[in-house]
Protein backbone atom coordinates (compact mmCIF):
# COMPACT_ATOMS: atom_id res chain seq x y z
CA UNK A 1 0.00 0.00 0.00
CA UNK A 2 2.69 2.41 1.00
CA UNK A 3 4.76 1.05 -1.81
CA UNK A 4 2.02 1.91 -4.21
CA UNK A 5 1.74 5.50 -3.12
CA UNK A 6 5.46 6.02 -3.00
CA UNK A 7 5.93 4.54 -6.40
CA UNK A 8 3.05 6.54 -7.82
CA UNK A 9 4.49 9.78 -6.55
CA UNK A 10 7.81 9.01 -8.15
CA UNK A 11 6.05 7.99 -11.32
CA UNK A 12 4.12 11.21 -11.62
CA UNK A 13 7.01 13.37 -10.62
CA UNK A 14 9.32 11.83 -13.14
CA UNK A 15 6.65 12.14 -15.80
CA UNK A 16 6.27 15.83 -15.13
CA UNK A 17 10.01 16.19 -15.06
CA UNK A 18 10.30 14.52 -18.45
CA UNK A 19 7.76 16.74 -20.04
CA UNK A 20 8.97 20.03 -18.67
CA UNK A 21 12.72 19.95 -19.08
CA UNK A 22 14.44 22.13 -21.65
CA UNK A 23 17.22 19.76 -22.43
CA UNK A 24 16.30 16.46 -23.99
CA UNK A 25 19.02 14.65 -22.12
CA UNK A 26 17.42 15.60 -18.85
CA UNK A 27 14.12 14.38 -20.24
CA UNK A 28 15.68 11.05 -21.13
CA UNK A 29 16.92 10.62 -17.64
CA UNK A 30 13.53 11.46 -16.26
CA UNK A 31 11.98 8.95 -18.59
CA UNK A 32 14.42 6.38 -17.42
CA UNK A 33 13.39 6.90 -13.83
CA UNK A 34 9.80 6.64 -14.96
CA UNK A 35 10.34 3.36 -16.70
CA UNK A 36 12.17 1.82 -13.80
CA UNK A 37 9.42 2.85 -11.43
CA UNK A 38 6.90 1.40 -13.80
CA UNK A 39 8.77 -1.87 -13.91
CA UNK A 40 8.70 -1.94 -10.15
CA UNK A 41 4.98 -1.44 -10.22
CA UNK A 42 4.69 -4.33 -12.63
CA UNK A 43 6.56 -6.49 -10.18
CA UNK A 44 4.14 -5.59 -7.46
CA UNK A 45 1.34 -6.63 -9.78
CA UNK A 46 2.71 -10.11 -10.25
CA UNK A 47 3.81 -9.33 -13.80
CA UNK A 48 7.43 -10.32 -13.49
CA UNK A 49 8.07 -11.16 -17.07
CA UNK A 50 6.62 -7.91 -18.22
CA UNK A 51 8.60 -5.98 -15.68
CA UNK A 52 11.79 -7.47 -17.03
CA UNK A 53 10.70 -6.81 -20.57
CA UNK A 54 9.96 -3.23 -19.61
CA UNK A 55 13.43 -2.77 -18.24
CA UNK A 56 15.24 -4.51 -21.05
CA UNK A 57 13.31 -3.26 -24.05
CA UNK A 58 12.07 0.11 -22.99
CA UNK A 59 14.73 1.54 -20.83
CA UNK A 60 17.49 -0.54 -22.32
CA UNK A 61 16.84 -0.22 -26.01
CA UNK A 62 14.41 2.57 -26.74
CA UNK A 63 15.90 5.09 -24.42
CA UNK A 64 19.34 4.36 -25.77
CA UNK A 65 17.93 4.99 -29.21
CA UNK A 66 16.77 8.37 -28.00
CA UNK A 67 20.18 9.15 -26.61
CA UNK A 68 21.85 8.26 -29.88
CA UNK A 69 19.50 10.43 -31.84
CA UNK A 70 20.12 13.33 -29.48
CA UNK A 71 23.79 12.87 -30.11
CA UNK A 72 23.24 12.72 -33.84
CA UNK A 73 21.11 15.81 -33.98
CA UNK A 74 23.19 18.01 -31.80
CA UNK A 75 25.15 19.96 -34.35
CA UNK A 76 28.43 20.53 -32.70
CA UNK A 77 28.59 21.59 -29.12
CA UNK A 78 25.69 24.04 -29.13
CA UNK A 79 22.37 23.21 -27.56
CA UNK A 80 19.29 22.62 -29.63
CA UNK A 81 17.88 25.81 -31.03
CA UNK A 82 14.25 26.35 -31.60
CA UNK A 83 12.51 28.74 -33.92
CA UNK A 84 9.86 31.26 -33.01
CA UNK A 85 6.86 29.91 -31.16
CA UNK A 86 3.94 29.84 -33.57
CA UNK A 87 1.29 28.82 -31.07
CA UNK A 88 2.33 30.83 -28.04
CA UNK A 89 -0.82 30.53 -26.00
CA UNK A 90 -1.45 26.86 -26.37
CA UNK A 91 -0.63 25.87 -22.78
CA UNK A 92 -3.86 26.97 -21.22
CA UNK A 93 -6.25 25.32 -23.67
CA UNK A 94 -4.16 22.15 -23.52
CA UNK A 95 -4.27 21.97 -19.75
CA UNK A 96 -7.94 22.76 -19.68
CA UNK A 97 -8.86 20.07 -22.14
CA UNK A 98 -6.62 17.57 -20.41
CA UNK A 99 -8.20 18.31 -17.07
CA UNK A 100 -11.63 18.03 -18.66
CA UNK A 101 -10.77 14.68 -20.14
CA UNK A 102 -9.39 13.46 -16.89
CA UNK A 103 -12.35 14.73 -14.97
CA UNK A 104 -14.87 13.02 -17.16
CA UNK A 105 -12.87 9.85 -17.18
CA UNK A 106 -12.78 9.85 -13.43
CA UNK A 107 -16.45 10.54 -13.30
CA UNK A 108 -17.13 7.70 -15.66
CA UNK A 109 -14.92 5.26 -13.89
CA UNK A 110 -16.30 6.08 -10.50
CA UNK A 111 -19.93 5.94 -11.48
CA UNK A 112 -19.95 3.12 -13.92
CA UNK A 113 -19.52 -0.49 -13.01
CA UNK A 114 -16.33 -1.91 -14.32
CA UNK A 115 -18.00 -4.79 -16.06
CA UNK A 116 -17.77 -8.50 -15.53
CA UNK A 117 -14.42 -10.12 -15.96
CA UNK A 118 -14.08 -12.15 -19.12
CA UNK A 119 -13.82 -15.86 -19.20
CA UNK A 120 -10.39 -16.79 -18.00
CA UNK A 121 -8.22 -17.71 -20.95
CA UNK A 122 -5.32 -18.82 -18.99
CA UNK A 123 -5.12 -21.66 -16.64
CA UNK A 124 -2.84 -19.69 -14.50
CA UNK A 125 -3.15 -19.44 -10.82
CA UNK A 126 -1.78 -16.96 -8.49
CA UNK A 127 1.11 -18.24 -6.62
CA UNK A 128 4.47 -17.36 -5.24
CA UNK A 129 6.55 -15.48 -7.68
CA UNK A 130 9.13 -17.55 -9.51
CA UNK A 131 7.38 -20.82 -9.78
CA UNK A 132 6.52 -22.15 -13.19
CA UNK A 133 3.05 -21.63 -14.71
CA UNK A 134 2.14 -19.23 -12.04
CA UNK A 135 0.30 -16.12 -13.23
CA UNK A 136 2.82 -13.65 -14.54
CA UNK A 137 5.69 -16.07 -14.87
CA UNK A 138 7.68 -16.66 -18.00
CA UNK A 139 6.20 -20.10 -18.55
CA UNK A 140 2.69 -18.85 -18.21
CA UNK A 141 3.36 -16.02 -20.56
CA UNK A 142 4.99 -18.30 -23.08
CA UNK A 143 2.08 -20.72 -23.01
CA UNK A 144 -0.33 -17.90 -23.67
CA UNK A 145 1.83 -16.32 -26.37
CA UNK A 146 2.34 -19.47 -28.40
CA UNK A 147 -1.05 -21.05 -28.05
CA UNK A 148 -4.07 -18.95 -27.35
CA UNK A 149 -2.57 -15.58 -28.35
CA UNK A 150 -0.65 -16.71 -31.39
CA UNK A 151 -2.00 -13.96 -33.61
CA UNK A 152 -0.52 -11.09 -31.64
CA UNK A 153 2.78 -12.89 -31.74
CA UNK A 154 2.78 -13.15 -35.51
CA UNK A 155 1.61 -9.58 -35.81
CA UNK A 156 4.43 -8.51 -33.59
CA UNK A 157 6.93 -10.11 -35.89
CA UNK A 158 5.43 -8.40 -38.84
CA UNK A 159 5.44 -5.03 -37.16
CA UNK A 160 9.08 -5.33 -36.30
CA UNK A 161 10.02 -6.24 -39.80
CA UNK A 162 8.09 -3.28 -41.17
CA UNK A 163 9.73 -1.01 -38.67
CA UNK A 164 13.20 -2.08 -39.71
CA UNK A 165 12.48 -1.59 -43.35
CA UNK A 166 10.90 1.76 -42.66
CA UNK A 167 13.79 3.05 -40.66
CA UNK A 168 16.30 2.05 -43.28
CA UNK A 169 14.22 3.59 -46.02
CA UNK A 170 13.73 6.87 -44.25
CA UNK A 171 17.05 7.54 -42.72
CA UNK A 172 19.35 4.97 -44.19
CA UNK A 173 22.56 5.50 -46.06
CA UNK A 174 23.12 5.30 -49.76
CA UNK A 175 23.93 2.10 -51.59
CA UNK A 176 27.70 1.55 -51.80
CA UNK A 177 29.33 2.98 -54.87
CA UNK A 178 30.88 -0.15 -56.37
CA UNK A 179 28.25 -0.59 -59.05
CA UNK A 180 30.15 0.35 -62.16
CA UNK A 181 27.47 2.76 -63.15
CA UNK A 182 24.91 0.19 -64.28
CA UNK A 183 22.39 0.78 -61.51
CA UNK A 184 20.80 4.06 -60.68
CA UNK A 185 22.63 5.39 -57.72
CA UNK A 186 20.55 6.45 -54.79
CA UNK A 187 21.37 9.80 -53.42
CA UNK A 188 23.58 9.80 -50.41
CA UNK A 189 21.50 10.57 -47.42
CA UNK A 190 23.43 13.62 -46.54
CA UNK A 191 22.89 14.93 -50.04
CA UNK A 192 19.21 14.43 -49.84
CA UNK A 193 17.05 17.43 -49.30
CA UNK A 194 15.98 17.75 -45.71
CA UNK A 195 12.31 17.94 -45.06
CA UNK A 196 12.87 21.18 -43.27
CA UNK A 197 14.72 23.61 -45.45
CA UNK A 198 17.66 25.19 -43.74
CA UNK A 199 17.18 28.81 -42.93
CA UNK A 200 13.39 28.85 -43.19
Amino acid sequence: MIAFYALSIVLIASAIFTVTQRSPVYSVVGLLVNFITLATLFFTLNAEFLGVIQLVVYSGAILMLFVFVIALLSSGVGPFSEGPDRLPRILLPAILSVLAGFGFLAFGVLHAPLGTPPVAHSASVLGPVGSANVFGSVGDFGVALFTTQLLPFEVTAFILMVAVIGVVAIAGDAVPQATRGRHVRRKRSKDREPIVKAGR
Binding site: S27, L45, A47, F49, I90, I159, P194
Partner: protein
Amino acid sequence: MSVELSNYIALSAVMFFIGVTGVVVRRNPLIVLMSIELMLNAANLALVAFSRAWVNTAGHVFVFLVVTVAAAEAAIGLAIVVAAFRRAKNVDVDEVSRLHG
Protein backbone atom coordinates in the same frame (compact mmCIF):
# COMPACT_ATOMS: atom_id res chain seq x y z
CA MET B 1 -5.32 -6.38 -2.86
CA SER B 2 -5.55 -3.51 -0.59
CA VAL B 3 -4.97 -1.14 -3.44
CA GLU B 4 -8.14 -0.77 -5.47
CA LEU B 5 -8.12 -1.24 -9.19
CA SER B 6 -9.45 2.26 -9.62
CA ASN B 7 -6.31 3.63 -8.01
CA TYR B 8 -4.21 2.08 -10.73
CA ILE B 9 -6.55 3.40 -13.35
CA ALA B 10 -6.34 6.86 -11.88
CA LEU B 11 -2.56 6.68 -11.86
CA SER B 12 -2.56 5.50 -15.46
CA ALA B 13 -4.87 8.30 -16.45
CA VAL B 14 -2.72 10.93 -14.79
CA MET B 15 0.37 9.66 -16.53
CA PHE B 16 -1.46 9.53 -19.84
CA PHE B 17 -2.65 13.09 -19.63
CA ILE B 18 0.77 14.34 -18.61
CA GLY B 19 2.02 12.73 -21.80
CA VAL B 20 -0.75 14.39 -23.78
CA THR B 21 0.22 17.77 -22.42
CA GLY B 22 3.78 17.13 -23.40
CA VAL B 23 2.82 16.30 -26.96
CA VAL B 24 0.75 19.44 -27.36
CA VAL B 25 2.94 21.96 -25.59
CA ARG B 26 6.54 21.03 -26.36
CA ARG B 27 8.20 21.96 -29.60
CA ASN B 28 11.25 19.76 -29.55
CA PRO B 29 10.40 16.67 -31.57
CA LEU B 30 12.38 14.41 -29.31
CA ILE B 31 10.47 15.51 -26.24
CA VAL B 32 7.26 14.93 -28.18
CA LEU B 33 8.28 11.37 -28.92
CA MET B 34 9.16 10.82 -25.34
CA SER B 35 5.76 12.07 -24.28
CA ILE B 36 4.22 9.57 -26.66
CA GLU B 37 6.19 6.83 -24.96
CA LEU B 38 4.83 8.07 -21.68
CA MET B 39 1.29 7.73 -22.97
CA LEU B 40 1.92 4.21 -24.19
CA ASN B 41 3.33 3.22 -20.85
CA ALA B 42 0.30 4.60 -19.11
CA ALA B 43 -1.80 2.30 -21.25
CA ASN B 44 0.49 -0.59 -20.36
CA LEU B 45 -0.02 0.11 -16.69
CA ALA B 46 -3.75 0.03 -17.05
CA LEU B 47 -3.56 -3.23 -18.98
CA VAL B 48 -1.37 -4.90 -16.40
CA ALA B 49 -3.63 -3.74 -13.59
CA PHE B 50 -6.69 -5.17 -15.26
CA SER B 51 -4.87 -8.34 -16.13
CA ARG B 52 -3.95 -8.78 -12.48
CA ALA B 53 -7.46 -7.99 -11.34
CA TRP B 54 -8.99 -10.69 -13.53
CA VAL B 55 -6.05 -13.07 -13.43
CA ASN B 56 -5.89 -13.26 -17.19
CA THR B 57 -2.61 -13.61 -19.07
CA ALA B 58 -4.18 -12.23 -22.25
CA GLY B 59 -3.62 -8.79 -20.84
CA HIS B 60 0.08 -9.48 -20.54
CA VAL B 61 0.25 -10.57 -24.13
CA PHE B 62 -1.39 -7.35 -25.12
CA VAL B 63 1.14 -5.38 -23.16
CA PHE B 64 3.80 -7.26 -25.06
CA LEU B 65 2.16 -6.16 -28.27
CA VAL B 66 2.02 -2.57 -27.11
CA VAL B 67 5.67 -2.60 -26.18
CA THR B 68 6.56 -3.93 -29.59
CA VAL B 69 4.50 -1.30 -31.31
CA ALA B 70 5.97 1.38 -29.13
CA ALA B 71 9.45 0.26 -30.01
CA ALA B 72 8.71 0.19 -33.68
CA GLU B 73 7.01 3.54 -33.58
CA ALA B 74 9.83 5.09 -31.62
CA ALA B 75 12.33 3.77 -34.12
CA ILE B 76 10.49 5.08 -37.09
CA GLY B 77 9.65 8.34 -35.41
CA LEU B 78 13.27 8.94 -34.60
CA ALA B 79 14.25 8.04 -38.13
CA ILE B 80 11.84 10.67 -39.39
CA VAL B 81 13.20 13.22 -36.94
CA VAL B 82 16.72 12.46 -38.09
CA ALA B 83 15.78 12.74 -41.72
CA ALA B 84 13.81 15.90 -41.27
CA PHE B 85 16.12 17.83 -39.04
CA ARG B 86 19.48 16.52 -40.27
CA ARG B 87 20.78 19.86 -41.35
CA ALA B 88 18.01 22.16 -40.25
CA LYS B 89 18.75 25.35 -38.45
CA ASN B 90 16.00 24.92 -35.91
CA VAL B 91 14.93 21.64 -34.43
CA ASP B 92 11.33 22.66 -34.00
CA VAL B 93 8.08 20.90 -34.75
CA ASP B 94 6.52 24.17 -35.85
CA GLU B 95 8.98 24.37 -38.72
CA VAL B 96 7.48 21.38 -40.56
CA SER B 97 4.33 23.16 -41.58
CA ARG B 98 4.43 22.99 -45.34
CA LEU B 99 0.94 21.48 -45.36
CA HIS B 100 -0.57 24.74 -44.31
CA GLY B 101 -3.60 26.21 -46.07
